[in-house]
């Protein structure tokens, strides 16, 4: 990924976050069926729990993917530099059989 693409991706991932923050209301309650409940503490608990649960699988899967990518990079670096693999597709070991990619997109 080039630096420009990276910056672009950062901008685009920041946009939804900004939208979420903008959408957070103060104390407006338009909900006709909202019950009294146990007060703000429970609601905040739900909110925190939701954020935690939403983020956790992404973090876990992301960490594993990054780890595998790093391993692939290391393996590529270790492997003979004569292989025809292009550096940005680390893919895997079996492809070190050195097949050219005639029709790359």
């Amino acid at each position: 990924m080039s630096a420009r693409a990276r910056r672009c991706a950062a901008t685009w991932s920041a946009a939804p976050v900004a939208a979420l923050l903008a959408a957070a209301p103060g104390t407006a309650r338009a909900c006709a069926v909202c019950m009294g409940g146990a007060g703000d503490r429970a609601e905040t608990g739900f909110l925190l729990g939701s954020l935690f649960l939403s983020a956790l699988p992404l973090v876990l899967v992301g960490a594993i993917v990054l780890w595998i990518r790093r391993r692939a990079r290391l393996l590529t670096a270790e492997a003979a530099s004569g292989s025809l693999r292009s550096p940005e597709t680390p893919a895997r070991c079996a492809s070190s059989l050195g097949t050219a990619q005639p029709a790359r997109r």
């Binding site: 146990a38 608990g45 649960l53 699988p57 876990l60 899967v61 594993i64 595998i68 070190s96 059989l97």
Partner: protein, 197 residues
């Protein structure tokens, strides 16, 4: 299916051009551990929500969880994780050297399970049961689930140790054992923090 499926389970080695990026068994265990972490995350967030929405916490008339004794148990479990790291290093260097640290992991882990069991007996005697309060329900459910995982993981560690003693511990089996035990060790401080503190 076609008539050519007569030969059953041909023993053909899994196809791969070279070394696998991550051994299949370790990868499978990693995926399984992700699912397990999500399972515990479900319990922990449920407990957090329930605790926050309670008007009085901890529930009145219920015994307090033994924070200090469990802290000592936690230290035992963390120490078993450390000995497994030592075993990992030794295994890389010279496999038979991993025997002692692996045995230490087994013993420390077993001590943790036994001491937690003793804690359960005491708490049950003091009146904290599965149905006495939400604290009790969650405590026995989550800690019991963790204990179940610890026992299974101990079985793996014991099996790895005995394989190593007989001299045929495969690297992938050791890897699977390690991933699962690190999971058991790593999730516990989180449970301790949420449940006891």
């Amino acid at each position: 299916m076609g008539a050519t499926t007569t030969l059953h389970a041909l023993p053909r080695p899994p196809q791969s051009g070279g070394a696998q990026l991550v051994p299949s068994a370790v990868m499978a265990m990693l995926i399984f551990v992700v699912t397990e972490i999500m399972l515990f995350a479900g319990f922990v967030s449920a407990f957090t929500i329930m605790r926050r929405s309670a008007l009085v916490w901890p529930p009145p008339g219920q015994p307090r969880l033994p924070v200090m004794e469990t802290a000592a148990n936690t230290a035992l479990l963390l120490a078993s994780g450390v000995t497994l790291v030592i075993a990992h290093r030794a295994f890389r260097r010279h496999a038979p050297d991993a025997r002692t640290p692996l045995l230490a992991t087994l013993l420390l882990g077993s001590a943790f399970v036994v001491l937690q069991g003793r804690e359960w007996v005491q708490l049950l005697a003091a009146g904290l049961t599965m149905t006495s309060s939400t604290l009790g329900s969650f405590f026995y459910l989550v800690v019991g689930l963790h204990a179940l995982h610890a026992v299974v993981a101990l079985g793996l560690v014991a099996s790895a140790w005995s394989r190593l003693r007989r001299g045929f511990l495969a690297r992938s089996f050791f890897g699977v054992t390690e991933v699962f035990w690190y999971f058991v060790v790593g999730i516990w401080p989180l449970l301790y923090w949420r449940l006891y503190l």
